[in-house]
């Protein structure tokens, strides 16, 4: 039992280094492409967290949607909008030190609040067996949570159709493209 606990803490420390180290690289890296790759490292750390928290289904969902889809989408957008954003350019704005101050204060407030709070932790018996099967989760999504689930589906559909409409090349844009090409 002691070995198992030590192992859990060891894994937790490794995952924390991955998640927070990757996160710091995301916000400080000068090369945006490296920042996006660091985001993948950070998200992989969060996958490990979900496994450690016995939320296996969420770990798989995180892996598929965040690492498999959203990261790739971001990498593609960086490649599409490159050119102007050379790695040598300064990537942070003039207010970065105010931002750092505000963020530090926010963090301090959060830490103080959550360490003072007494959380209503469940009893030991319940903590030992967090039994949520995937089938239960599926039944919940079409049972008590059916309406939010449907709303999310409609939202996703609207967002994707909107994304296609926004990013599509119209006749007008193609014209300005050709002009820009000829003036270069």
């Amino acid at each position: 039992m002691a070995i198992e606990q030590a192992l859990q803490i060891f894994v937790f420390v490794i995952l924390t280094l991955m998640t927070l180290g990757g996160g710091l690289a995301v916000v400080t890296s000068r090369n945006l492409f490296h920042a996006a790759l660091s985001l993948i490292l950070s998200l992989a750390g969060v996958v490990g967290y979900y496994v450690l928290l016995d939320a296996g289904f969420l770990a798989i969902v995180q892996l598929l949607i965040y690492i498999g889809a959203i990261s790739i989408l971001i990498l593609f957008s960086i490649m599409l909008t490159r050119g102007l954003m050379t790695p040598r350019q300064v990537q942070r704005n003039e207010q970065w030190w105010i931002a750092a101050l505000v963020v530090f204060l926010t963090f301090v407030v959060l830490i103080v609040a959550l360490w003072q709070m007494v959380w209503p932790i469940a009893d030991d018996e319940a903590l030992r067996t967090p039994n949520v099967a995937i089938s239960q989760l599926g039944e919940a999504l079409v049972g008590p949570y059916a309406i939010p689930f449907e709303i999310i589906s409609v939202l996703l559909l609207v967002a994707l159709v909107g994304a296609i409409v926004l990013a599509r090349e119209t006749e007008n844009n193609q014209g300005s493209h050709a002009e820009a090409g000829s003036s270069e």
Binding site: L32, I65, T106, A140, Y145
Partner: protein, 103 residues
């Protein structure tokens, strides 16, 4: 469970702070989106940690985490489409220079 709830919440708070710094300090619009993704992940860690430690028999925590991931996917798709569209029109993704609606 060897790791107490406070540790999870601390890690999530740190990740949230890092993401917030990214949103506030990046000049590139895609950099801002990366920061938002970090903040959403921090919220998700909190949801799952609360589910695991406070209501391990209920489904609410995991279901909400799934909803947050769905929202994040929609946000990324719409946000990146807006950025690409803006880049096409203005030839820039620096948020300081996208100031058409500034008075």
């Amino acid at each position: 469970m060897a790791i107490p709830l406070s540790w999870w919440l601390t890690v999530a708070a740190a990740l949230f702070a890092i993401g917030l710094y990214g949103v506030l300090s990046r000049r590139n619009a895609i950099g801002v989106l990366l920061g938002i993704e970090l903040m959403l992940n921090a919220a998700n860690i909190n949801l799952v940690a609360f589910w695991r430690f406070i209501t391990p028999q209920a489904l609410t925590g995991q279901v909400f985490a799934i909803f947050v991931i769905g929202i994040a996917a929609a946000e990324a798709a719409a946000g990146l489409a807006i950025i690409i569209s803006a880049y096409r029109r203005r030839r820039t993704v620096v948020v300081d220079e996208l100031d058409t609606m500034r008075w």
